[in-house]
Protein backbone atom coordinates (compact mmCIF):
# COMPACT_ATOMS: atom_id res chain seq x y z
CA UNK A 1 0.00 0.00 0.00
CA UNK A 2 2.82 2.39 0.92
CA UNK A 3 4.52 1.62 -2.36
CA UNK A 4 1.46 2.77 -4.29
CA UNK A 5 0.79 5.88 -2.24
CA UNK A 6 2.69 8.33 -4.47
CA UNK A 7 1.03 6.72 -7.48
CA UNK A 8 -2.39 7.17 -5.93
CA UNK A 9 -1.73 10.77 -4.93
CA UNK A 10 -0.57 11.62 -8.42
CA UNK A 11 -3.49 9.82 -10.04
CA UNK A 12 -5.94 11.56 -7.71
CA UNK A 13 -4.45 14.96 -8.53
CA UNK A 14 -4.63 14.17 -12.24
CA UNK A 15 -8.25 13.09 -11.94
CA UNK A 16 -9.14 16.21 -9.99
CA UNK A 17 -7.43 18.15 -12.77
CA UNK A 18 -5.42 19.92 -10.10
CA UNK A 19 -2.30 21.80 -11.30
CA UNK A 20 -0.63 20.58 -8.10
CA UNK A 21 -0.05 17.38 -10.07
CA UNK A 22 2.77 19.19 -11.89
CA UNK A 23 4.64 19.63 -8.60
CA UNK A 24 4.00 16.02 -7.65
CA UNK A 25 5.30 14.87 -11.00
CA UNK A 26 8.36 17.03 -10.65
CA UNK A 27 9.17 15.65 -7.20
CA UNK A 28 8.65 12.15 -8.37
CA UNK A 29 10.26 12.11 -11.80
CA UNK A 30 12.50 15.10 -12.45
CA UNK A 31 15.80 13.76 -11.01
CA UNK A 32 15.53 10.29 -12.47
CA UNK A 33 14.20 11.49 -15.79
CA UNK A 34 16.95 14.06 -16.22
CA UNK A 35 19.56 11.39 -15.56
CA UNK A 36 17.80 8.99 -17.90
CA UNK A 37 17.61 11.60 -20.65
CA UNK A 38 21.27 12.47 -20.24
CA UNK A 39 22.09 8.79 -20.59
CA UNK A 40 20.19 8.72 -23.88
CA UNK A 41 21.30 12.06 -25.28
CA UNK A 42 24.78 12.40 -23.71
CA UNK A 43 24.04 16.10 -23.32
CA UNK A 44 22.79 18.06 -20.35
CA UNK A 45 21.27 20.89 -22.35
CA UNK A 46 19.39 18.58 -24.67
CA UNK A 47 18.23 16.55 -21.69
CA UNK A 48 16.86 19.69 -20.00
CA UNK A 49 15.03 20.73 -23.17
CA UNK A 50 13.55 17.28 -23.61
CA UNK A 51 12.57 17.17 -19.94
CA UNK A 52 10.58 20.33 -20.46
CA UNK A 53 8.93 18.85 -23.55
CA UNK A 54 8.07 15.73 -21.56
CA UNK A 55 6.43 17.70 -18.77
CA UNK A 56 4.47 19.85 -21.20
CA UNK A 57 3.36 16.76 -23.07
CA UNK A 58 2.27 15.06 -19.87
CA UNK A 59 0.31 18.17 -18.85
CA UNK A 60 -1.43 18.18 -22.22
CA UNK A 61 -2.28 14.47 -22.17
CA UNK A 62 -2.85 14.20 -18.42
CA UNK A 63 -6.08 12.21 -18.78
CA UNK A 64 -4.07 9.45 -20.47
CA UNK A 65 -1.50 9.42 -17.71
CA UNK A 66 -4.27 9.14 -15.12
CA UNK A 67 -5.55 6.03 -16.89
CA UNK A 68 -2.11 4.46 -17.52
CA UNK A 69 -1.64 1.04 -15.96
CA UNK A 70 1.92 1.85 -14.89
CA UNK A 71 2.70 5.52 -14.42
CA UNK A 72 6.48 5.09 -14.40
CA UNK A 73 6.65 3.04 -17.57
CA UNK A 74 4.31 5.51 -19.29
CA UNK A 75 6.36 8.55 -18.30
CA UNK A 76 9.66 6.91 -19.23
CA UNK A 77 8.26 5.88 -22.59
CA UNK A 78 7.26 9.47 -23.29
CA UNK A 79 10.74 10.59 -22.30
CA UNK A 80 12.41 8.05 -24.55
CA UNK A 81 10.16 8.92 -27.48
CA UNK A 82 10.88 12.61 -27.11
CA UNK A 83 14.61 11.95 -26.85
CA UNK A 84 14.51 9.73 -29.93
CA UNK A 85 12.65 12.45 -31.80
CA UNK A 86 15.36 14.95 -30.91
CA UNK A 87 18.12 12.52 -31.88
CA UNK A 88 16.61 11.85 -35.27
CA UNK A 89 16.01 15.55 -35.90
CA UNK A 90 19.57 16.49 -35.08
CA UNK A 91 21.51 13.39 -35.90
CA UNK A 92 24.57 15.12 -37.30
CA UNK A 93 24.67 17.68 -34.52
CA UNK A 94 24.37 14.97 -31.89
CA UNK A 95 27.65 13.30 -32.89
CA UNK A 96 29.51 16.57 -32.36
CA UNK A 97 27.83 17.08 -28.98
CA UNK A 98 29.01 13.72 -27.67
CA UNK A 99 32.58 14.88 -27.99
CA UNK A 100 32.22 18.44 -26.81
CA UNK A 101 29.58 18.60 -24.09
CA UNK A 102 30.20 17.18 -20.62
CA UNK A 103 27.30 15.75 -18.70
CA UNK A 104 29.21 13.80 -16.05
CA UNK A 105 30.55 16.03 -13.31
CA UNK A 106 33.35 15.79 -10.76
CA UNK A 107 32.98 17.00 -7.22
CA UNK A 108 36.62 17.91 -6.61
CA UNK A 109 38.65 20.35 -8.59
CA UNK A 110 41.19 17.77 -9.67
CA UNK A 111 42.68 17.65 -13.16
CA UNK A 112 43.40 13.93 -13.01
CA UNK A 113 39.82 13.17 -12.01
CA UNK A 114 38.51 15.49 -14.70
CA UNK A 115 40.49 13.58 -17.33
CA UNK A 116 39.17 10.31 -15.97
CA UNK A 117 35.60 11.52 -16.13
CA UNK A 118 36.19 12.74 -19.66
CA UNK A 119 37.31 9.24 -20.63
CA UNK A 120 34.35 7.67 -18.83
CA UNK A 121 32.01 9.95 -20.70
CA UNK A 122 33.51 9.05 -24.07
CA UNK A 123 33.41 5.34 -23.21
CA UNK A 124 29.76 5.59 -22.12
CA UNK A 125 28.94 7.45 -25.31
CA UNK A 126 30.28 4.50 -27.30
CA UNK A 127 27.90 2.04 -25.65
CA UNK A 128 24.58 1.18 -27.26
CA UNK A 129 21.87 3.46 -25.88
CA UNK A 130 19.92 0.68 -24.18
CA UNK A 131 22.96 -0.54 -22.26
CA UNK A 132 23.93 2.99 -21.33
CA UNK A 133 20.46 3.69 -19.93
CA UNK A 134 20.66 0.71 -17.60
CA UNK A 135 24.20 1.41 -16.42
CA UNK A 136 23.49 5.08 -15.75
CA UNK A 137 20.27 4.38 -13.84
CA UNK A 138 22.00 1.72 -11.77
CA UNK A 139 25.18 3.61 -11.01
CA UNK A 140 23.98 7.18 -10.76
CA UNK A 141 20.42 6.72 -9.46
CA UNK A 142 21.14 3.62 -7.37
CA UNK A 143 18.25 1.74 -8.92
CA UNK A 144 17.99 -2.02 -8.63
CA UNK A 145 17.42 -4.22 -11.66
CA UNK A 146 13.86 -4.74 -10.47
CA UNK A 147 13.21 -1.00 -10.27
CA UNK A 148 14.79 -0.41 -13.68
CA UNK A 149 12.72 -3.18 -15.19
CA UNK A 150 9.59 -1.47 -13.84
CA UNK A 151 10.63 1.93 -15.16
CA UNK A 152 11.54 0.73 -18.62
CA UNK A 153 8.83 -1.90 -18.93
CA UNK A 154 11.37 -4.69 -19.44
CA UNK A 155 11.99 -8.01 -17.77
CA UNK A 156 14.52 -8.13 -14.99
CA UNK A 157 16.65 -10.58 -16.98
CA UNK A 158 16.80 -8.24 -19.94
CA UNK A 159 17.90 -5.39 -17.71
CA UNK A 160 20.56 -7.56 -16.05
CA UNK A 161 21.93 -8.79 -19.34
CA UNK A 162 22.03 -5.27 -20.77
CA UNK A 163 23.99 -4.20 -17.72
CA UNK A 164 26.37 -7.15 -18.03
CA UNK A 165 27.04 -6.58 -21.74
CA UNK A 166 27.45 -2.87 -21.15
CA UNK A 167 29.98 -3.42 -18.39
CA UNK A 168 31.85 -5.85 -20.59
CA UNK A 169 32.13 -3.24 -23.32
CA UNK A 170 33.17 -0.58 -20.83
CA UNK A 171 35.85 -2.95 -19.52
CA UNK A 172 37.25 -3.26 -23.02
CA UNK A 173 37.03 0.47 -23.68
CA UNK A 174 38.58 1.44 -20.36
CA UNK A 175 41.05 -1.47 -20.24
CA UNK A 176 44.08 0.63 -19.50
CA UNK A 177 42.34 2.55 -16.69
CA UNK A 178 41.35 -0.41 -14.52
Amino acid sequence: MDENQPDNMLRAALRRNSPAAVELMWDRYANDLLTFLQAILCSRHDAEDVLQTVFVRIARKRHRLARARCLDAYVYRIARNEASRLISSRKREHIAKVRTESWLMVTENNQELSDLVEQLQVALAHLPQQQREVIVLKIYRQKTFLEISGLLGLSQNTVASRYRYGMEKLRNLLGNLT
Partner: protein, 168 residues
Protein backbone atom coordinates in the same frame (compact mmCIF):
# COMPACT_ATOMS: atom_id res chain seq x y z
CA UNK B 1 33.85 -13.69 -6.92
CA UNK B 2 35.53 -14.26 -10.26
CA UNK B 3 37.86 -12.00 -12.15
CA UNK B 4 35.07 -10.44 -14.22
CA UNK B 5 33.15 -9.40 -11.13
CA UNK B 6 36.25 -7.80 -9.71
CA UNK B 7 36.80 -5.85 -12.92
CA UNK B 8 33.14 -4.81 -12.96
CA UNK B 9 33.53 -3.55 -9.42
CA UNK B 10 36.55 -1.52 -10.45
CA UNK B 11 34.62 0.04 -13.34
CA UNK B 12 31.65 0.76 -11.10
CA UNK B 13 34.02 2.39 -8.66
CA UNK B 14 35.47 4.52 -11.44
CA UNK B 15 32.04 5.51 -12.66
CA UNK B 16 30.99 6.47 -9.14
CA UNK B 17 33.81 8.98 -8.93
CA UNK B 18 31.71 11.11 -11.28
CA UNK B 19 28.15 12.16 -10.72
CA UNK B 20 25.21 13.57 -12.60
CA UNK B 21 23.95 16.80 -11.04
CA UNK B 22 20.33 17.17 -10.05
CA UNK B 23 18.10 19.67 -11.86
CA UNK B 24 18.64 23.23 -10.71
CA UNK B 25 15.85 25.24 -9.01
CA UNK B 26 15.92 27.50 -12.05
CA UNK B 27 15.19 24.55 -14.31
CA UNK B 28 12.41 23.45 -12.00
CA UNK B 29 10.87 26.89 -12.13
CA UNK B 30 11.10 27.04 -15.91
CA UNK B 31 9.66 23.59 -16.54
CA UNK B 32 6.86 23.67 -13.98
CA UNK B 33 5.79 27.10 -15.20
CA UNK B 34 5.61 25.85 -18.78
CA UNK B 35 3.78 22.71 -17.74
CA UNK B 36 1.25 24.67 -15.67
CA UNK B 37 0.70 27.06 -18.55
CA UNK B 38 -0.02 24.09 -20.82
CA UNK B 39 -2.24 22.61 -18.13
CA UNK B 40 -4.38 25.73 -17.99
CA UNK B 41 -4.56 26.12 -21.76
CA UNK B 42 -5.61 22.56 -22.42
CA UNK B 43 -9.30 21.94 -22.06
CA UNK B 44 -10.38 19.49 -19.44
CA UNK B 45 -11.10 16.20 -21.08
CA UNK B 46 -13.02 13.97 -18.74
CA UNK B 47 -12.34 10.30 -19.11
CA UNK B 48 -15.90 9.56 -20.28
CA UNK B 49 -15.66 12.14 -23.03
CA UNK B 50 -12.92 10.29 -24.86
CA UNK B 51 -14.87 7.12 -25.75
CA UNK B 52 -17.88 9.29 -26.55
CA UNK B 53 -15.82 11.39 -28.94
CA UNK B 54 -14.44 8.23 -30.53
CA UNK B 55 -17.98 6.90 -30.96
CA UNK B 56 -19.14 10.12 -32.57
CA UNK B 57 -16.12 10.12 -34.88
CA UNK B 58 -16.78 6.49 -35.86
CA UNK B 59 -20.46 7.21 -36.52
CA UNK B 60 -19.58 10.24 -38.65
CA UNK B 61 -17.09 8.17 -40.62
CA UNK B 62 -19.69 5.42 -41.13
CA UNK B 63 -22.32 7.92 -42.34
CA UNK B 64 -19.81 9.44 -44.72
CA UNK B 65 -18.82 6.05 -46.16
CA UNK B 66 -22.46 4.99 -46.57
CA UNK B 67 -23.32 8.29 -48.30
CA UNK B 68 -20.41 7.82 -50.69
CA UNK B 69 -21.53 4.25 -51.39
CA UNK B 70 -25.14 5.39 -51.98
CA UNK B 71 -24.07 8.14 -54.28
CA UNK B 72 -21.86 5.77 -56.23
CA UNK B 73 -24.65 3.20 -56.41
CA UNK B 74 -27.18 5.77 -57.64
CA UNK B 75 -24.73 7.03 -60.20
CA UNK B 76 -24.17 3.50 -61.50
CA UNK B 77 -27.89 2.67 -61.53
CA UNK B 78 -28.89 5.74 -63.54
CA UNK B 79 -28.44 3.98 -66.90
CA UNK B 80 -30.53 1.00 -65.69
CA UNK B 81 -33.58 3.01 -64.68
CA UNK B 82 -37.15 2.24 -66.04
CA UNK B 83 -36.67 3.82 -69.49
CA UNK B 84 -34.62 0.89 -70.64
CA UNK B 85 -36.73 -1.82 -69.10
CA UNK B 86 -39.22 -2.15 -71.97
CA UNK B 87 -36.52 -2.50 -74.54
CA UNK B 88 -34.80 -5.04 -72.38
CA UNK B 89 -38.00 -7.01 -71.98
CA UNK B 90 -38.42 -7.09 -75.71
CA UNK B 91 -35.04 -8.70 -76.08
CA UNK B 92 -35.75 -11.48 -73.66
CA UNK B 93 -34.02 -14.12 -75.74
CA UNK B 94 -30.72 -12.38 -74.95
CA UNK B 95 -30.43 -13.24 -71.31
CA UNK B 96 -27.05 -11.53 -71.02
CA UNK B 97 -28.87 -8.19 -70.78
CA UNK B 98 -31.37 -8.78 -68.03
CA UNK B 99 -32.63 -5.56 -66.42
CA UNK B 100 -31.54 -6.59 -62.94
CA UNK B 101 -27.87 -6.65 -63.90
CA UNK B 102 -26.64 -3.10 -63.53
CA UNK B 103 -23.01 -4.08 -63.09
CA UNK B 104 -19.72 -3.56 -64.68
CA UNK B 105 -19.37 -5.64 -67.89
CA UNK B 106 -17.00 -8.03 -66.14
CA UNK B 107 -19.39 -8.58 -63.23
CA UNK B 108 -22.24 -8.99 -65.71
CA UNK B 109 -20.24 -11.63 -67.49
CA UNK B 110 -19.67 -13.46 -64.21
CA UNK B 111 -23.37 -13.31 -63.37
CA UNK B 112 -24.37 -14.57 -66.80
CA UNK B 113 -21.90 -17.44 -66.45
CA UNK B 114 -23.55 -18.31 -63.14
CA UNK B 115 -26.98 -18.13 -64.72
CA UNK B 116 -26.12 -20.34 -67.66
CA UNK B 117 -27.70 -23.58 -66.38
CA UNK B 118 -31.05 -21.87 -65.69
CA UNK B 119 -30.75 -20.08 -68.99
CA UNK B 120 -30.46 -23.39 -70.82
CA UNK B 121 -33.55 -24.62 -69.02
CA UNK B 122 -35.49 -21.50 -69.88
CA UNK B 123 -34.65 -21.69 -73.57
CA UNK B 124 -35.52 -25.35 -73.84
CA UNK B 125 -38.77 -24.66 -72.00
CA UNK B 126 -39.48 -21.79 -74.32
CA UNK B 127 -38.76 -23.98 -77.34
CA UNK B 128 -41.04 -26.59 -75.96
CA UNK B 129 -43.80 -24.04 -75.33
CA UNK B 130 -43.31 -22.68 -78.82
CA UNK B 131 -43.60 -26.16 -80.26
CA UNK B 132 -46.79 -26.86 -78.30
CA UNK B 133 -48.25 -23.54 -79.35
CA UNK B 134 -47.48 -24.29 -83.02
CA UNK B 135 -49.04 -27.70 -82.75
CA UNK B 136 -52.13 -26.25 -81.10
CA UNK B 137 -52.35 -23.64 -83.82
CA UNK B 138 -52.10 -26.27 -86.52
CA UNK B 139 -54.67 -28.33 -84.73
CA UNK B 140 -57.02 -25.38 -84.50
CA UNK B 141 -56.52 -24.65 -88.19
CA UNK B 142 -57.16 -28.29 -89.02
CA UNK B 143 -60.19 -28.22 -86.78
CA UNK B 144 -61.56 -25.16 -88.54
CA UNK B 145 -61.19 -26.81 -91.96
CA UNK B 146 -62.59 -30.17 -90.78
CA UNK B 147 -65.53 -28.92 -88.76
CA UNK B 148 -67.63 -31.75 -90.06
CA UNK B 149 -65.44 -34.29 -88.40
CA UNK B 150 -67.64 -36.10 -85.84
CA UNK B 151 -65.20 -36.00 -82.94
CA UNK B 152 -64.07 -32.46 -83.97
CA UNK B 153 -61.66 -30.30 -82.02
CA UNK B 154 -59.53 -33.14 -80.77
CA UNK B 155 -55.88 -32.36 -80.51
CA UNK B 156 -53.25 -34.37 -82.26
CA UNK B 157 -51.44 -34.45 -79.01
CA UNK B 158 -54.16 -36.40 -77.29
CA UNK B 159 -54.78 -40.03 -78.11
CA UNK B 160 -58.15 -40.68 -79.71
CA UNK B 161 -60.48 -42.33 -77.29
CA UNK B 162 -61.85 -45.35 -79.05
CA UNK B 163 -64.07 -46.40 -76.24
CA UNK B 164 -64.83 -45.30 -72.66
CA UNK B 165 -62.88 -48.32 -71.39
CA UNK B 166 -59.68 -47.28 -73.06
CA UNK B 167 -58.45 -45.34 -69.99
CA UNK B 168 -59.48 -47.87 -67.44
Amino acid sequence: MNEKDLENDKIEHLLRRAHIPEPSPLLKERITTEARKEWNQTSVEMSWQIPLMRLVASAAAAVFIISIANFSSNHTLKKWRPGDVRATREQLPDLETLPEMPYHPFVRHLVSVNRRPSMTDASSLRNYAERVRRILKETQQNGASNEQVPDGGRSRLLPIQLSPDSYS
